[in-house]
Symmetry: C2
Subunit: 142 residues, 2 copies
């Protein structure tokens, strides 16, 4: 298997930082660049992005897969099913201190997921200024 055939490291890193958040009592937030492949409540999308609280307390049936992040959560009292392709996740960080990791923004045509090789390893510093999300649990701004 060569670099072009390898799978993305992104889902592995997302799971790692989710575990780190949980072990430290932090609330894991994921920032998602929304397009038609992303199943989220559109009314909470701002500037093409949505920030989701994926903590155990805020979700049910959470699945952090290699291809998709899936869970159920309540938005303004209504249960919604969320499905986010891992390639659309642009950051995962702790709400409490902003520590985490940002990923390269996907480009049209799916080049990032196609065969990223070393580009995948260029991780940007996470920006804690991301606007926290709009979910019922743990969504208060910092």
């Amino acid at each position: 298997m060569n670099a072009l055939e390898s799978t993305s490291t992104r889902p592995y890193l997302i799971r790692a930082l989710y575990e780190w958040c949980t072990d430290n009592g932090f609330t894991p937030y994921v920032a998602v660049l929304v397009d038609d492949s992303v199943q989220v409540p559109r009314e909470y999308v701002k500037n093409g992005e949505i920030v989701l609280n994926i903590s155990y307390d805020a979700t049910s049936s959470l699945k952090l897969g290699n291809d998709f992040i899936e869970f159920k959560a309540r938005f303004a009292g209504t249960a919604r099913e969320i499905m986010v392709p891992v390639s659309r996740v642009i950051a995962i960080y702790a709400r409490e201190n902003g520590q985490g990791m940002a990923f390269p923004v996907p480009v049209p045509g799916g080049a990032v997921e196609g065969g990223v090789g070393l580009r995948e390893a260029v991780i940007r510093c996470c920006h804690p200024g991301l606007d926290p999300g709009s979910m019922d649990c743990g969504s208060s701004p910092q």
Copy 2:
């Protein structure tokens, strides 16, 4: 718990990339900045660094803990016990394509492990030019 009290993300990221390597059939290498706290065969240290093959095939009793990486491996036919503080790991990457992640180099006095907060999240791109190690299994240069 605030940023100063949180544990390092480094062991979580190391485990994530180890799993990614294994799932993709790649050989995980770790680059280590050697000091007195690092238990490795000194004869294989070059320029203060050693690169270790931590694949399942090259090691036994591998433990990727939050504080230490520990395993047994053979060097030039002799079994050695290896123990590396996670804070001394400066990169983990796949031998086959160099994909992986590098971490901030520890500074004297242990500031990186003390309370790194956001600095921990500044991940450098891994450099595939790191000299592969000297272990018996899978140590041939790229």
